[in-house]
């Protein structure tokens, strides 16, 4: 579904992605794990078009995506729940969700919003409050729900567990797992390698802008090098 080949990207003169190759098949949950600063977020920013690509290609559902502007990528089916949540803090929870479906104005918008409230009941309770007043976990839920309002076929999730209490993290990972049943393919970027590999089908390990290991998630979790470097076991 999503294929990345030889992707390079730079901030000014400093190259941070040195030729990334990865692919995500339809219906999979794929995770990219790695330490802080490995380039995981930059990779996702390239995929969603807000970070320039210096060479390499991104192909999504058979179409070249490399040069498609950011605001056109959601219409092609690629949504992102960005690092740091990036919700619209001074708009209400409901307005955030409505804007998630900015591209649409049919009756399915209301249905999708109902689904979002089913998925995260706390958002229904807070629907009329300014989103900036939500707790970190609620903001993360809102960010994911907003991305799903855009009817993506593939969701890019950037660090959904960052800074959250373990019980919330478990809840969020459960939702990510449940997206599979909804037919949404997921590319999950995480520092929380253990949690991410547990729910993923396949995984990539990223270090200083390169993919250093890849394989089925179950194998990576069992790999002694990974256990030592990322799982602290």
């Amino acid at each position: 579904m999503l294929t990345v080949e030889g992707l390079r990207s730079r901030y000014g003169r400093i190259e941070v992605l040195h030729g990334i190759d990865l692919h995500v098949d339809s219906g999979e949950i794929v995770t990219v794990v790695g330490a802080n600063g490995a380039g995981k977020t930059t990779l996702l920013r390239c995929l969603s078009g807000v970070q320039p690509v210096s060479s390499g290609t991104i192909t999504f559902r058979g179409e070249a995506m490399t040069t498609v502007p950011a605001h056109r990528r959601l219409a092609r089916g690629l949504a992102q729940s960005p690092e740091g949540r990036q919700i619209f803090t001074n708009l209400s929870v409901e307005e955030n969700l409505r804007l998630g479906a900015f591209l649409y104005s049919d009756e399915r918008v209301g249905k999708d919003m109902e689904d979002a409230f089913q998925m995260f009941p706390i958002l229904r309770e807070k629907r009329n409050l300014a989103a900036g007043g939500l707790s970190g976990g609620q903001q993360q839920m809102l960010a994911m729900a907003r991305a799903l309002m855009g009817r993506p076929s593939c969701l890019l999730l950037d660090e959904p567990s960052m800074g959250l209490a373990p019980i919330i993290v478990a809840q969020i990972f459960d939702v990510v797992k449940s997206l599979k049943a909804l037919g949404v393919t997921v590319l999950l970027v995480e520092q929380n390698a253990f949690g991410a590999l547990k729910i993923a089908d396949r995984g990539y390990v990223m270090e200083t802008g390169q993919i250093t290991m890849q394989g089925p998630a179950a194998e990576l979790i069992a790999d002694p090098r990974i256990r030592e470097a990322y799982l602290g076991i």
Binding site: S48, G49, V50, P69, A70, H71, R72, L74, A75, A79, Q80, P82, Q86, I87, F88, T89, N90, L91, E95, R98, L99, G100, F102, L103, S105, A130, G132, G133, L134, S135, G136, Q139, R146, A147, M149, G150
Partner: protein, 290 residues
């Protein structure tokens, strides 16, 4: 009594123009966080272009339409040529750019038009209406009515339409706006066009009363900015009420104290309000949790 009413009428008229300028500030501020100090120049262009188009033989409504359209195009050009290339610069730099643009537009108008004071006929004749011993010009009713219509239109746009929300979303978080499929460049273009058109319309409405020349923009921008701050920057309701309030304050001071003091009195009251309510009358405190 009739004296007070007279001051209120003239205050409302001037205030409606300040409100239109303040609404123009609000739109661009909402979309980009930039305070556009060329806003007063849009008012001037609206008046001046109408004057010259009308003088060249076009009927007044057509001349006014052309003025609004041309000014909107100037607004778009300002965004494309001066603001967009500097995207990523701190907001203060962008504000300084708009000050530069206002000086440029003023200078260019001096060359394109002239340095004379101009006017054109009032829309509904020059006979004033007598109300309870006071008089009001029919053109004043046009100005006040125009300001109310634009305010209601904007309020509906920002609170009831998805595109209006998209403008608010773009100012709140540009990155997230792009990710939900909003073309943020288009939102900026739209904001500048809308803001310039509203300024120009203000200029068209008020010129038969206050007359116009190439340099009327500066004072209007200052007053409109003060009105927007008084009401709470970024809030259309605040801009509207702030504008009317400022106009009334000026007219009452000029009437009961001295017209020498009208600017001073207005600004002193604004300072006092902002001292106790730094967010302005209708500004909301922003509370973000991270």
């Amino acid at each position: 009594m009739s004296e007070l009413l007279q001051f209120v009428f003239s205050g409302m008229t001037v205030g409606a123009v300040y409100a239109l300028v303040a609404l123009g500030f609000t739109i661009i501020f909402n979309a980009s966080g930039v305070v556009n100090f060329a806003q007063g120049e849009f008012v001037m262009l609206g008046g001046m272009i109408t004057v010259f188009a009308h003088a060249s033989g076009l009927p007044l409504p057509l001349a006014a339409l052309i003025a609004v359209a041309v000014t909107a195009a100037v607004g778009v050009a300002l965004n494309r040529l001066a603001i967009e290339p500097a995207r990523g610069a701190p907001v203060v730099s962008l504000i300084i750019i708009t000050i530069g643009a206002s000086i440029f537009i003023r200078g260019a108008s001096q060359l394109v038009f002239d340095k004379q004071i101009h006017s054109f006929p009032a829309f509904s004749g020059d006979d004033p209406i007598h109300v309870l011993g006071a008089t009001i010009l029919t053109q004043s009713l046009w100005v006040i009515g125009g300001a109310i219509a634009i305010f209601v239109g904007l309020w509906l746009f920002f609170t009831k339409t998805l595109l209006g929300r998209a403008v608010l979303a773009t100012s709140n978080n540009r990155l997230a706006a792009q990710l939900v499929g909003i073309n943020t460049k288009f939102v900026m273009t739209l904001s500048f066009a809308l803001s310039a058109a509203i300024g120009a319309l203000g200029g068209v409405l008020v010129t038969p009363i206050t007359l116009t020349s190439y340099d009327v923009g500066l004072a209007l921008a200052l007053k409109g900015f003060a009105a927007a701050m008084l009401g709470g920057m970024g809030n259309p309701k605040g801009a509207f009420v702030g504008g009317l309030l400022l106009g009334l304050l000026e007219a009452l001071t000029a009437g009961y104290l001295s017209s020498q003091y009208k600017d001073a009195a207005a600004f002193i009251i604004i300072l006092a309000v902002l001292f106790f309510m730094p967010q302005g009358l209708f500004g909301r405190k922003s509370t973000d949790r991270v």
